[in-house]
Amino acid sequence: MLIRLISGDTPRSPILAAILLIILLGLAFAPFVFPGTRSVDTAARICIFIVLVASYDLMLGYAGIVSFAHTMFFGIGAYGVALASIHMGRGFDALVVGSVSGAIAAAVLALVIGLFSLRVRAIFFAMITLAVASAFAVLVSQLSNLTGGEDGLNYQIPRALTAAQRYLEEPFFGVRVNGKLVNYYVVFFGSLIVFLILLRIVNSPFGRVLQAIRENDFRTEAIGYRVVYYRTTATILSAVAASLAGSLFAIWLRYVGPDTTLSFDIMIDILLMVVIGGMGTMYGAMIGATIFVLAQNYLQNLMGAAEEALQSVGVPLLPLFLNPDRWLLWLGILFVLSVYFFPTGVVGRLRRRG
């Protein structure tokens, strides 16, 4: 049953299995184990980014397509929920309509981009998605009467999902059982379901064909698979999953804006997470996203402390590199090193040893 649930794709390494279990349990019981607004927010972000990164991995790690438009699909999902909530009023129907229409829009856009640029040569796709995504971000920030422009949109989600709604008078294991908690579990289970579906997809015959295309597209075509068809389908599936992640993000944050959903920085974050976690394994997304979001939230404190320590000792120059704002520098170096020395990331390393 359990094996079936994860589509027969077992971790194949005791250490990896242990780490994944810790992440899963940590996220499942995050509100109880790590109470506090900030840590629960971090946990929700990890859930959402796991889905986002896993969907990107479907394209990059399995089909071997580099796309820079993934945040665009993420943003479409998020804006779908936001716009539906504003125009249809507060309610669960708005959330569903927003998510579904966002997913459809993402699929159509992915189909158009895919048909257009995947036919010519794969490398065009990287450049064209970069151009399209940045044009989309500019468009969103300029159509301010529709999208709120740079300020983004604030909207209301059903009361049942906000902290105002109390379900139990007494705290349960020291945690107040309110709508915020329910909201967290909506995000958690939503992410879990999409992740398991993605796991199912990559372990299906379809996923095998994608891997074959990644290894040798010419040969795959010769065996009789329409490479363009498979690549485009992978792009669409990945776009839909990304847009669903965006919808969950919008439900959690109750705010969408270009900086939180569409910016190129998020795209770079996704790339870092995929590569550090491990390309070509869905579990890599789990590990990459967890490491990265934790680093984003807590590494900066650590670096700040190190900077102050060094400054007080009087070391020249080095504190500049340890400035908390420079955390991306270290992750960038880690990224380049991982592409060279362990392209299969943390997961590939652990599996080989296991």
Binding site: R326, L329, G332
Partner: protein, 343 residues
Amino acid sequence: MSAAPDHAPTIVRAGLRDRLAPHVPLLLIPVLIVLGFVSIGSPSSWLTLTVSGLAMGMMIFIMASGLTLVFGLMDVINFGHGAFVSVGAFVGITVLLALGGMTGSPSLALNMAALLLAVVAAMLATGIIGWGFEKVIVEPVYGAHLKQILVTMGGLIIVEELILVAWGPDEIFFTRPETLQGAFTFAGAAIERYRLVAVVFGLALFLAMRFVLRSTKIGLIVRAGVENGEMVQALGYRLRAVFIGVFIAGSALAGLGGVMWALYQEVITAHMGAGIMVLVFIVVIMGGLGSVEGCFIAALLVGLTQNYVAFLEPKLALISNIGLMVLILMWRPQGMMPVVKAK
């Protein structure tokens, strides 16, 4: 036994149509300019926009030319190219700011000397960084596109962060050298001096580059290498060395483009290179990978479209370039003047 049939080979000259076909894209520029004239209506605004469009196109061309050659030669796509633009801008502007005495004086000669120093410093810096970038980041991943994209992207992040370490996180505002400020009026249209300088300079650079590629031996090797690298190597040329040279030159050109772009914008940020890369990629794709002429035409088209559309319908400026690219690719899927065979 019958005699062998007469063998009289004739070389039929290709028809006019076939001979002209490769040059058709050249016509697009005048067509676009006329189209702009018709849709804008007012001649003076049209002239202003055309000059600034051409200036922008020239600067994009300077940044994109290195990228397209590097791709053509070694099939290396460098997503970190934008980093050189930023580095060039920062180094160049730092030199200009240090030479405040020279840039502040109204003398053209002093201004130009300061500018020249800034450009040389920027090109030296980006050339050296380009050399290091090629050695450390690009060389280990020859032949693997996926890794190239990822690794050069990583290089871009690192270089951007290093700029932030060296120059701090704030935007730097500055003013152009004294004699390049302001505008003059020509036929009722206000034309910024700097834009005209950029157009002239870009055109000169294009002609120089064309001369090097067409009329010198090194240019011959580079062009032959783009078309068929293995053959060039078989003939005994070390293509690898040529490639490193082109990479360094391309990086230095990006640095030069960065200085010019910075002077155009009068503000620099660490992310400016990554921002302009979007246009650079559009230009490289439209022109046809590996083609300097195609790149030049595409850059002018993009610059003009951007300026015309920004005047007519400001919100559609960037979208219009994507639309232009889509149209061009529907017409010629490999770009306007493809050189590299689909690999």
